[in-house]
């Protein structure tokens, strides 16, 4: 047991979850205190002792499924047998006749005797009854039938999952179920309809998870936990590379962004309040001194009110860096109370001010959605042209940059070999308090190909590589 636990913890550390020695010891104590046969308790025990942040939970879950998948399958089989016995004993056999039949045929044939129609029927029944055991059985069947798994291939299973799901046509099944409910209940109100849709959606998700677990179990059998863990390892939300994030990862990032920006805002407010002492508060000091007979033993200070900077954000929103710009704008607006004013501009090869979208919307997400559809940023062909965009910015808004302004430029500076017009940045630096450039590319790529970040960097106070939320949070935190 301790060996398995040890391997598991090594994997957690590989996945980026910090597990200290104390926590390791705790986990070992915990496993001694509980009944190891109870999988849910076992998992909860490991989670309580090893994972100290909700953000790390998905990574933990994945690793857990990989390392302890074999046990689950074993128990599922036991359960299935028990279930069958129970079925035969139960006097109320009416509703479950079909189920029993299907279960038996599978039990004898080792899982491959079922026809496609039978499987479809079983799937539908599993979704209607929402029964965990039946669900596991369907997953087993479906994966055996459709995934076409080849032993020894070093993959994480996404492809198998895709194949299984495509063949099961879960979307169509969901539609059918909904149609049936509609037919059964007569006219459903919009509320009922919505609730039914959500219910079926939740069940379908459960089914998908069961299938994923089944695939994972087979992969572990094939290649061993350690090898598989390496291929399914996912970065923690704060370490996802924003520029190359998949759609799922973007969704993860968006969820992570909200609490992140809230935490940042709280931290900055506190910093502002507690940072330094202000000048002596004469009045309060004298008042206090009365209780010590006029001796000012306890000097009081005014709360400091450091001037808040103005912020101008200029973001490239062309395809390659769009998601990066979105996250940065989101974060900047989430802490906009830390700045006296925030103005934002977006460009591709033309530039447009988008401050008004943020002013009108009460949620940055809405505003960012509107930017993508409404901002007028294309001048000629919709390929990034930093030079032209900067020139336009200078002509239209250059006058408004003053010594209180911090300028934040977001982009990879891949200029499609247009002129750089870096004099604009030089002029901005002369006028503004700071000019920062955030580049979502790894710094080793800077200056390669059509990247001209070096030309602009000469005139920036700092050029920062910001590829992940962690780096972004750190930078924004230092800024305010």
């Amino acid at each position: 047991m301790l060996d398995v636990l040890n391997a598991f913890i090594v994997e957690l550390r590989h996945a980026g979850i910090p597990v200290s020695l104390t926590e390791h010891v705790d986990a070992a104590h915990a496993t001694a205190a509980i009944d190891l046969g109870d999988r849910a308790t076992f998992k909860a025990a490991l989670r309580a002792t090893l994972v100290k942040s909700e953000d790390h939970r998905p990574a933990f879950d994945t690793a857990f499924e990989v390392y302890f998948a074999g046990r689950e399958a074993l128990e599922a089989d036991d359960l299935a047998e028990e279930g069958e016995e129970a079925d035969e004993d139960s006097p109320d056999g009416e509703g479950s006749t079909g189920l029993r039949g299907a279960g038996k045929s599978m039990g004898k044939g080792g899982g491959s005797t079922m026809s496609a129609e039978e499987l479809a029927q079983l799937l539908e029944r599993a979704l209607t009854t929402n029964d965990a055991e039946l669900r596991a059985r369907v997953a087993k069947e479906a994966v055996g039938r459709y995934a076409g798994m080849e032993p020894g291939r070093p993959v994480g299973g996404t492809y198998y999952l895709y194949r299984t799901l495509r063949n099961l046509e879960l979307d169509r099944v969901a539609e059918d179920l909904l149609a049936k409910q509609r037919a059964a209940n007569g006219d459903m109100g919009t509320l009922e309809e919505r609730l039914a849709t959500d219910e079926i959606g939740a069940r379908i998700d459960g089914m998908k998870q069961a299938i994923e677990a089944e695939i994972r179990r087979r992969l572990v059998e094939d290649r061993g936990a350690e090898a598989l863990a390496r291929s399914v390892r996912k970065p923690l939300p704060e370490d996802i590379d924003v520029m190359h994030a998949t759609r799922d990862e973007i969704a993860t990032l968006e969820r992570a962004l909200q609490p992140l920006s809230r935490k940042l805002a709280v931290r900055l407010t506190r910093k502002r309040r507690h940072g330094r002492k202000g000048p002596l508060d004469f009045r309060q000091t004298v008042r206090r001194s009365l209780s010590t007979g006029g001796v000012p033993i306890d000097p009081r200070y005014k709360h400091p009110r450091p001037a808040k900077p103005e912020m101008v954000v200029i973001a490239d929103i062309s395809g390659s860096v769009a998601s990066f710009a979105r996250f940065t704008l989101h974060l900047v607006y989430a802490i906009s109370s830390q700045f006296s004013k925030v103005r934002s501009f977006v460009f591709v090869d033309g530039i447009d001010e988008v401050t008004r979208f943020f002013d009108e919307a009460d949620d940055p997400t809405d505003a960012i959605a509107r930017i993508n559809t409404e901002a007028d940023v294309v001048w000629v062909d919709g390929h990034s042209d930093y030079g032209h965009a900067f020139e336009q910015f200078h002509a239209r808004y250059g006058e408004e940059i003053n010594s209180r302004t911090s300028v934040l430029i977001l982009g990879d500076a891949r200029n499609n070999y247009h002129a750089s017009e870096s004099w604009v940045i030089a002029d901005l630096q002369a006028k503004a308090r700071h000019v920062y450039w955030l580049n979502p590319e790894p710094s080793s790529y800077w200056g390669s190909g059509d990247s001209i970040v070096g030309e602009y960097a000469r005139f920036c106070d700092r050029v920062v590589e910001v590829r992940t939320l962690r780096q972004l949070e750190q930078f924004v935190g230092e800024l305010a």
Partner: protein, 300 residues
């Protein structure tokens, strides 16, 4: 681990036992909650409970106190909380009186050493929640509420209590717990807690419950609700949580809503009734409008 600590442990027989006894005091736990509480007792570790507001974090501590028949000692955290509010304070007024009284008594009072020994005595100590929990001889549950509100530096105050169950007082020595209390810390996650604190605790995330559990919670907590209505309430709330809202409805808001519907004498809700009472569940106008549009199919 000393022997008396081991003896005082074992409040629960198994996670299942925790689950059942919590249910008996109307708190419906899930696997994670039951196992973590069970382990907290066995490993004698504090539990750090984290999760969105209104999901029953504080209630968990209260319920555990209730079912073990323990006294609940609560430390509400806030910015600026310090040693004298959290741990202990010398009652200096009483100390002054003591010094003066000894002088009034007669020409030759006791020597300084005697007085010093005298005034730094437990009689002159004001126990604040943490020390109180350590000194208690009856069973107690210590709840440190919203621990994320104190500054990072203040967290350090709690570390000794959380890991060793003792408080060191320079003038008096170390006060060790005669029995290990159960300790719950709650956090709304408005900032990262320090590694040192997290390492000493078991971590429990209490999120929104599954639809089945929520229905049970509604049925247990709202007397007189029809099972049809409870089911509908739980499902509507799940749909609301899946929408993109600024603030998703919490469990306590769900309960308020269910309560309202019961008071209004409903056995089930239709979409208009649901839409009209949405303001109990949602606290932002934009959320209410969005939810109304989605639930009733009418655009604003």
């Amino acid at each position: 681990m000393s022997t008396n600590q081991t003896e005082s442990a074992a409040r629960f027989a198994s996670p299942q036992d925790v689950h059942e006894r919590l249910a008996a005091v109307d708190y419906l736990s899930d696997d994670a909650i039951a196992s973590t509480v069970f382990l907290a007792d066995r490993l004698q570790k504090p539990v750090l409970v984290e999760g969105p507001a209104g999901t029953g974090k504080t209630q968990l501590a209260k319920s555990v106190a209730e079912l073990t028949g323990a006294r609940l000692i609560r430390l509400q955290c806030y910015e600026g909380l310090d040693e004298s509010k959290a741990l202990y304070e010398w009652n200096y007024r009483k100390q002054l009186l003591r010094i003066q009284a000894s002088r009034v008594g007669g020409g030759e009072g006791p020597g300084w050493n005697e007085i010093e020994e005298d005034i730094f005595d437990e009689d002159f100590l004001l126990a604040r929640p943490l020390l109180e929990a350590i000194r208690a001889t009856d069973p107690v549950v210590l709840l440190i509420d919203e621990v994320d509100r104190v500054e990072l530096e203040t967290e350090a105050l709690m570390l000794e209590v959380l890991s060793e169950y003792q408080v060191s007082i320079p003038e008096l020595g170390t006060v060790t717990a005669s029995q290990v209390p159960m300790v719950f810390l709650t956090s709304n996650n408005t900032r990262e807690l320090s590694e040192a604190l997290k390492r000493r605790c078991l971590f429990l995330h209490v999120g929104y419950p599954t639809v089945e559990r929520e229905r049970l919670i509604v049925e247990t907590r709202v007397p007189g609700i029809s099972s049809e209505l409870a089911d509908q309430v739980a499902r509507i709330v799940r749909s609301l949580r899946s929408m993109d809202l600024r603030k998703a409805p919490s469990v306590s808001e769900t309960l308020d809503w269910a309560q309202t519907l019961v008071v209004l004498g409903k056995d089930s809700v239709n979409e208009d009734e649901a839409a009209d009472t949405l303001h109990i569940l949602l606290k932002y106008q934009s959320d209410i409008e969005r939810a109304r549009a989605e639930l009733t199919g009418k655009k604003r």
